[in-house]
Amino acid sequence: MATNTRSLDKVTLLDWYRQIVLIRHFENRCDELYHQKKITGVYLHLYSGHEAVGVGALAAIGKDDHVITGYRDHGIALARGVPANPIMAEMMGKRTGVSGGKGGSMHLASRAHNFWGGYAIVAGHLPLAAGIALKERYTDTENVVLCFMGDGSTNNGYFHESLNLSAVWNLPVVWIIENNFIGMGTRIEDSSGQPELVKRAIAYGMKEGGRVDGQNVLEVHDAISEAVAYARKKGPVLVEVLTYRYKGHGVSDKQYSEREDLKRELEDWTSRKDPIIILRDYLRAGFEGIDADLERIDAEARAVVEESVRFAEESPVPTYEDLINNIVVE
């Protein structure tokens, strides 16, 4: 573990723990709600397993920096500090949702948090990230953009054009690949000629930010902190973070019941590489009698999620007026 994290205080580490646990509970609850048909629709992609990536990465930036991601966006929104209530309300398509119930699970966003949203066209948000970064360069700030994407996204034309432009224009973007080794049912070896995705930086003369253990929030925090420092002063960085999805691709994913290889793989990750366990063990090793705090945090997180469910359920649904407004700026 890189030394600069050693210096991290208990308060910070416990806050990360809180966020990771909050995301875990939030996603489990969404899963339940979907099967109870309280969250409906065809798409629901959970962040379970990825928690340490979002939490560690977002801990490395400030309020004026920017965050954008794909459809697997619940955890990123929570880690960015967007309250659980309007997020859960969005899941249920309520008027009080972050996107007024018009975006849904894949399209959470909060302008107030410089969280530019979840997008569902694979890699389609990468050029947007480049554009947001251009604004910062254009106005001579040192703010950066963190752009999250999946491993599968890196084989799309958008990836190539966006990373190349960011290099040519020296844009302050940290490109973060959440490599969970699979896209839907396609393993990375079957989709990428170069499975070591961070090497793709070479194609753009871009700085390589390393291949990072995404289940260890401290490792993620270190790597992204370094990348962010570089991006502020110099230019884009590509970071590959290794992680795993616990709940399959999305609610439509039937593979884990059908595929032995995936079942075993999942078992291995949950038992040996779970981000909550890894951080908890680290905290226990570092701080005497931390368990009381951990239990309290866990209970508080559950309460936050339950409150968000209550809030969402009691919220009104959008109206015809909502259907036809905000199509264009009048």
């Binding site: 798409y43 018009k102 199509i327």
Partner: protein, 326 residues
């Protein structure tokens, strides 16, 4: 033999199996067609049946899925490429319009493109703004590529077999909402020729012109109208290119009234073309303006309640009919 009731998904699957067994050159490529068993389960079991050579999972690379399929077709294979949903086909538009549809012409016949590009289409189910398009008319705007839009299992099977055997590129659009809908499909092989419309219901008071899911709404509406003594004739275009309008004109000359039903957005669309063609071809037979029932001119929102407001349905068709049948 007695026809079995088969969901459209299974009819399409059967067509693919039959054509792959018939012709070694036919193969499948696309995202999640193999290991995942097909996003919409259409290619379920294909990897086991036909092997990796003929059932090819691809990266998330729509541009090259379409473009490589064009090249393979030019070279003599008969690819059935799948773009997971038509929404992602925007990323393949250049390959389809500038190459699939044009190489035969711009090299003056030296190359042919026996290609089928299957896309799942349609909205509803809260797929939201970027995942809820039905832009088939856009693909049919350009000469050189056919556009198939089956409305039921029977048609889908016969049309897909025709598309695979044809030497021209065909965009084959499958309405997601229809995948699970059964209709009678004969055991014995049949082909439904390219560019043939079909009268799905005979009537005399009004003509309903539709394709794909619009046909379903039209038939429902026709049943509702029949209760009130209004007999609607339903013409299923089946193909947006080539267009077979004779049956539409004939029907209109009999009913003198028409409502066009489409799942698509209203502007520069199918309804526009039908109305334009009808008023020109059958001006003297128009007893009322041609009405259009389309999706509302909005991006589709997530919340179920308001999403449904934006979509066409049988009641909206009935209401439109009543505006012109008095």
């Amino acid at each position: 033999m007695a026809d079995k009731n088969v969901p459209m998904r299974e009819a399409i699957r059967a067509a693919l199996i039959e054509e792959m067994e018939r012709d070694e050159r036919v193969f499948i490529m696309g995202q999640e067609v193999g290991v995942w068993q097909g996003t919409h389960r259409v290619t379920r079991g294909f990897l086991e049946m036909f092997g990796e050579k003929r059932v090819r999972d691809t990266p998330i690379s729509e541009m090259v899925i379409a473009g490589a399929a064009v090249g393979a077709a030019m070279a003599g294979l008969r690819p059935v490429a799948e773009i997971m949903t038509i929404n992602f086909a925007f990323l393949a538009l250049d390959a389809l319009i500038n190459h699939a549809a044009k190489v035969h012409y711009m090299f003056n016949g030296q190359f042919t493109v026996p290609l089928v590009v299957r896309v799942a289409s349609g909205w509803g189910n809260q797929a939201t703004a970027t995942h809820s398009h039905t832009p088939e008319p856009i693909f049919a705007h350009f000469p050189g590529m056919y556009v198939a839009c089956p409305s039921n299992a029977y048609d889908a099977k016969g049309m897909l077999k025709a598309a695979i055997r044809d030497d021209n590129p065909v965009l084959f659009s499958e309405s997601i909402a229809l995948y699970s809908k059964p209709s009678p499909v004969p055991e014995e092989e049949y082909i439904i020729p390219i560019g043939k419309s079909d009268v799905k219901r005979v009537g005399k008071h009004v003509t309903l012109v539709a394709y794909a899911r619009g046909v379903e709404w039209s038939l429902e509406a026709a049943a509702m109208l029949a209760k009130e003594g209004i007999e609607a004739e339903v013409v299923d275009l089946r193909w947006l290119r080539p267009l077979d309008l004779e049956p539409v004109f004939e029907s209109f000359k009999k009913t003198n009234r028409c409502v066009v039903v489409e799942e698509s957005l209203p502007h520069f669309s199918f309804g526009s073309e039908m109305a334009a063609q009808l008023q020109e071809a059958a001006f003297d037979y128009m007893d009322a303006p041609i009405k259009r029932v389309s999706a509302m001119d909005v991006p589709l929102p997530y919340a179920r309640e308001i999403e449904l407001m934006a979509l066409p349905n049988a009641q909206k068709v009935v209401d439109a009919v009543k505006e012109i049948v008095y």
